[in-house]
Amino acid sequence: MTDQESTWETVIGLEIHAQLATRSKIFSGAATAYGAPPNAQASLIDLGFPGVLPVLNGEAVRMAVRFGLAIGARIARHSVFARKNYFYPDLPKGYQISQYELPIVAQGALDIVLDDGSTKRVGITRAHLEEDAGKSLHEGLGGLTGVDLNRAGTPLIEIVSEPDLRSAKEAVTYMKKVHTLVRYLEICDGNMQEGSFRCDANVSVRRKGSEKLGTRAEIKNINSFRFVEKAIQYEVARQIELIESGGKVVQETRLYDPDKGETRSMRTKEEANDYRYFPDPDLLPLAVGEELIEEVRRSLPELPDEKAARFSSQYGLSPYDAGVLSASRELADYYEEVVRAVPREPKLAANWVMGELAAALNTENLDVGSGKMPAPRLAGLLTRIADQTISGKLAKEVFEAMWAEGQSADAVIESKGLKQITDIGAIERAIEEVMAKSPGQLAEYRAGKDKLFGFFVGQVMKATQGKANPAQLNELLKKKLPG
């Protein structure tokens, strides 16, 4: 442990904004699809025109309830929408409709697995519904800023963690867990490049043993796991250095600059904005009844932790492997589809899905859902490994051909004539040929140079174009070589 680590404790809380994957906006019937031309998806309500009024999207409510149930939280039977008042060009009404004193979800938790394998429970103080703001563009407009309100009114769920995280690593692990969960629940597509999943980090430090929380700085709008980790690390170091050199941490909002790798104070963000929250008089209190909660509960999918545990017990996978395979519903479903086709080989399936398949998908920037290697096709390859039609070694070659040509395993094996030779007679003949061609090595082996066993394995493999069944080959060589 470094000097710093032994003196100082880091305290981190994350506020995650996830865009809910509804078709229409939270308070208007405009579309939420990403990438439309500027202001093509901004209705009069989203534009805050005179006289317009908000009407609440029921699906956003259901998605929030789904999230609340998945984190074991209390679902508020009555929650209230409040106005957060401030002036900014991307906020057309001059206020954001959010939830303040009475959020729809309160007091849940998520368990994360730390590096040392232990589990840590991270408290989630609350999660509430609110509307997203628009976007400002600052380049290419002749010194002006252009405002696009397509994003204004997109439903968000803001997830606030307790300040339970104690390192940048923990923060990232937690953030990834939330990311996986919202995708599992199909309430958010988790696309950080498009801004569907954003994170603010509240970071403070205090001397170890101190009960009081240090002054915190808020790092806003970080949109990648890597940046979150780096930003927090930088900020922690900055705060410690500041305090150690006699300074004081100022409560402020900071931005992470990924090019410079540092956080800096946001110049123009006003001194503590007085948001003057009050209940929005245009919206009535939101009542969530037992019926709705039960309906949502029934529709919950198997959650990531449950799935990982089941994979471990059902398929005999290590917790690590189970965790990797259940990281996304798509991947988990893919894996299970493969296993269903080769039910006696869950570990083989796991190795191939996490190994060759993952690597191939990675190089082409695809995911399992892309259809490049459908589960039945991969299963076909594993079946041929399992029934020893081909050796494990050759399987790699077969996979590459399958990948490149989109062919089934059988088609590739057939066209390349790669069927493993398991006919004992054929192997014996190959061995005899090699023995006849290599009298010198044979003599040396018989004289005690055991290392040459490998030479004979290699030669027979070469002679059979790699198709000899390795197990049988080994057995037969052992029998024949000594003479």
Partner: protein, 110 residues
């Protein structure tokens, strides 16, 4: 002799709001006030706050705040359907300044 300041303060009781408060409120509300206007608003707002102070007379300890005049109603939920189409040309017809579909404002530095 006479304490004019004291006499003055009897004739003109101190206002409930200070000039600094008026300036701060005007800033929060993004309202440009002429310097000459500030004391005028200070006076009228102070009177309004004094009027409002009468609310202290009421014993409201056992009463909940009323956000909506019709009690017991709750928010209706709307189905998740896209019902709006692209009408930005119509909506931007009389916008103060627009280019390439974007609303233009003086540059915002972040």
């Amino acid at each position: 002799m006479y304490d004019f300041a004291l006499l003055f303060s009897f004739a003109f009781p101190p206002m409930s709001l200070t000039r600094a408060q008026i300036e701060s409120i005007a800033h929060l509300a993004r309202l440009e006030l002429e310097p000459a206007e500030i004391p005028v608003y200070q006076d009228s707002l102070s009177r309004i706050i004094d009027l409002v102070g009468q609310l202290d007379r009421a014993d409201t300890a056992a009463v909940a705040p009323m956000a909506h005049p019709l009690p017991g109603l709750t928010q209706r939920l709307r189905p998740d359907e896209v019902t709006e189409e692209d009408r930005h040309e119509c909506y931007q017809a009389s916008a103060p300044q627009v280019a390439a579909g974007l609303y233009l404002v003086p540059k915002v530095i972040e």
